[in-house]
């Protein structure tokens, strides 16, 4: 750690991981409700558990992105953070507001929550992933503005690297697109159209810039490859992400009202959306193969390769599987969508946050060369348990989805099974998904356990390459 103020990333990472654990607990609750329908009813109905599960994910990823930014921007800019105090204040504001919102979901009836937070003044609630009370949405906007101010003041007064420029661009895009969460027209088709400006243009747009920048930073650090080379790759990757992903939004416009030309535009451009993720795989593996140093933090390299591969599989391959309009006609809103959503979010965004945590946390804990060998091996167990479990969750949901389509969607009206009859028929797949989810939880516990192991790697663990340099 070159600058003392980078340490402010620590509370962000810790809180992100706490929320991650909460997200998985509610994932398991829902997994059980899928097969034992009245589990925890009426205390925690499915819609509440789902809201907690997805909102915790969004919030902890934002904490993770913010932590990553506070850690890497000062080091890239070669200057202290503009205001560590502001970063701390915003941490507590966001943590308290986020926690209160989740508690509100759990302990207050949603209609009452809408009422007491005066949703009717500016109705924004009750839309998927944007369930937060309007006051929370305003709070998120203010926290992000304060955060961006702090980061831009830091970035602008120091060295302007491509990593910083791309990261800040992505974060500005995140903030600007969030404004669409306040736009909730009474026409459902318009509402849905602009809802995707937040959801799609985040995860298949500006978040890819954030992911690319974090990955590039970690690869510079652990491989020692020349910055020029890495920055060139980063530009190509984000160029592909935006060239395919922006018009690729059209794959969400097939069946919600917009005209037929979106069937073509959405299919063609989103079929190309795997390209940036494929390039990330090539990027990570090529840089690590050409490494100029053998960084003793081996598990950070594993996460970096893992996030590229799993993002390609989850976002790229599983996205492509159902993105062509004639296929999507049958798969839209089925368990295929759920399968894709799980692996894509895990591969691209959960794993990139865990990558930077794996690299940065040991340094902030006074272990500049990484955790001890034992701790790294335990963390690798966590990596493999969680990742393989997620592969199985995805495969079982895909199986459920294929059967669902076969029973419920393909036959003619009158012959097709009803939604609920179909669900009964595919329950076995939901049970297997639940078992996989339990293994995921076990992997998370192992991962947390790796933080408790003392000791650190030493410089002697590094077999120096031909041109060891500190990029």
């Amino acid at each position: 750690m070159k600058y003392e103020s980078q340490r402010v990333a620590m509370p962000y990472f810790i809180f992100a991981l706490v929320l991650f654990a909460g997200q998985i607990v509610f994932g398991l609750v829902m997994g059980l409700q899928y097969v034992v329908g009245d589990f925890l009813f009426p205390e925690i109905p499915f819609n509440v558990a789902r809201m907690v599960h997805t909102n915790l994910l969004i919030v902890w990823l934002l904490f993770g992105f913010m932590g990553a930014t506070y850690y890497l921007v000062p080091e890239e800019a070669q200057t202290e953070l503009y205001s560590p105090l502001l970063a701390w204040i915003l941490f507590w504001v966001f943590a308290v507001a986020g926690t209160l919102t989740i508690l509100g979901y759990l302990f207050v009836d949603y209609a009452t929550l809408a009422d007491v937070t005066m949703n009717k003044l500016l109705p924004t609630m009750g839309r998927e992933f944007l369930e937060q009370p309007t006051i929370t949405k305003i709070g998120i906007a203010l926290v992000v503005v304060g955060f961006l101010f702090n980061i831009m003041m830091t970035a602008l007064r120091g060295r302007k690297t491509v990593v910083n420029i791309v990261l800040v661009t992505g974060l500005i895009g995140l903030a600007v697109l969030w404004l669409f969460s306040f736009y909730n027209p009474s026409n459902l088709t318009t509402d849905k159209y602009f809802w995707w400006f937040v959801v799609h243009l985040w995860v298949e747009g500006v978040w890819e810039l954030i992911m690319g920048a974090i990955l590039a930073y970690v690869l510079i650090k652990i491989t020692g490859v020349d910055r020029e080379v890495i920055e060139k790759w980063l530009y190509v990757i984000i160029a592909m992400a935006l060239i395919t992903g922006i018009i690729g939004t059209g794959h969400h416009f097939f069946w919600i009202g917009p005209p037929e030309y979106w069937l073509w535009l959405g299919s063609v451009f989103s079929a190309l959306e795997p390209l940036p993720f494929f390039m990330m795989v090539l990027f990570a593996f090529t840089m690590i193969n050409r490494r100029k140093r053998n960084h003793p933090n081996k598990v950070a390299a594993l996460w970096a390769m893992g996030t590229a591969v799993m993002a390609f599989l989850g976002a790229g391959v599983w996205g492509f599987l159902h993105t062509l309009a004639p296929v999507n006609y049958y798969t839209h809103g089925s368990q295929i969508t759920a399968a894709h959503g799980h692996m894509a979010f895990y591969g691209a965004y959960v794993m990139i946050v865990l990558t930077i945590i794996s690299y940065a946390m040991p340094i902030m804990r006074g272990r500049p060369y990484g955790n001890s060998n034992t701790a790294q091996i335990v963390e690798m167990w966590g990596f493999w348990l969680m990742t393989i479990s997620m592969v199985f969750i995805t495969l079982f949901l895909t199986g459920a989805g294929i059967l669902q389509i076969w029973l419920q969607r393909i036959p003619e009206s009158g012959e097709a099974l009803s939604f609920m009859a179909t669900q009964d028929n595919i329950a076995l797949f939901y049970w297997m998904r639940l078992v996989s989810g339990c293994f995921f939880m076990a992997g998370l516990v192992v991962y947390f356990g790796s933080f408790l192991i003392k000791g650190q790697a030493s410089p002697a663990d590094e077999a120096r390459g031909p041109a060891m340099q500190d990029a």
Binding site: Y34, N47, N119, V229, L242, I247, W255, G257, L265, S413
Partner: protein, 149 residues
């Protein structure tokens, strides 16, 4: 990557490509919203009651279990075509069905998925029914494939 492909070339592809596609997206959005949608979403039938119904839909987080035009959760049935499926495409039949259904929840059948009792007024149920009826008439390129949604 080959040496002749420089970082500044990569940057220019990023800047030029993203600018072009942002602008194209804005043009397409303008065309979709101003020219195409008015003919496809029956906005002349978007009454006060439909708007109230949308708020009932939102304030009770219906999308947390159901999907609407395929978007939402996949725990409970698709509702963009429930007007056709359960109401036989008849407003009066559908309103009566909705009233009976909403008041019968939860079923409390052991082990079955449960829909909460939302304690909606008769007016709110009628508003919600109007919203779902209007939604069912949006031109959505013929989705879903059959009546089961």
């Amino acid at each position: 990557m080959a040496e002749r492909f420089t970082k500044s070339m990569a940057r220019n592809i990023y800047l030029g490509g993203s600018t072009f596609f942002v602008l194209l997206f804005l043009v397409l959005t303008f065309d979709t919203q101003s020219r195409a949608m008015p003919e496809r979403d029956n906005r002349d039938q978007l009454t006060e009651q439909v708007v109230r119904g949308k708020h009932v839909w939102e304030n009770n987080n219906c999308v947390g279990c159901h999907s609407l035009m395929g978007e939402g959760a996949y725990f409970a049935p698709e509702l963009a075509n429930v007007f056709d499926r359960r109401g036989g495409a008849n407003s009066e039949v559908f309103k009566a069905y909705m009233n009976a259904w909403m008041n019968a929840m939860p079923t409390n059948v052991p082990g079955r998925r449960q829909m909460p009792q939302f304690n909606l007024t008769d007016q709110e149920i009628e508003d919600l029914a109007s919203f779902l009826e209007w939604t069912s008439k949006i031109d959505d390129n013929g989705w879903p494939p059959n009546i089961e949604g």
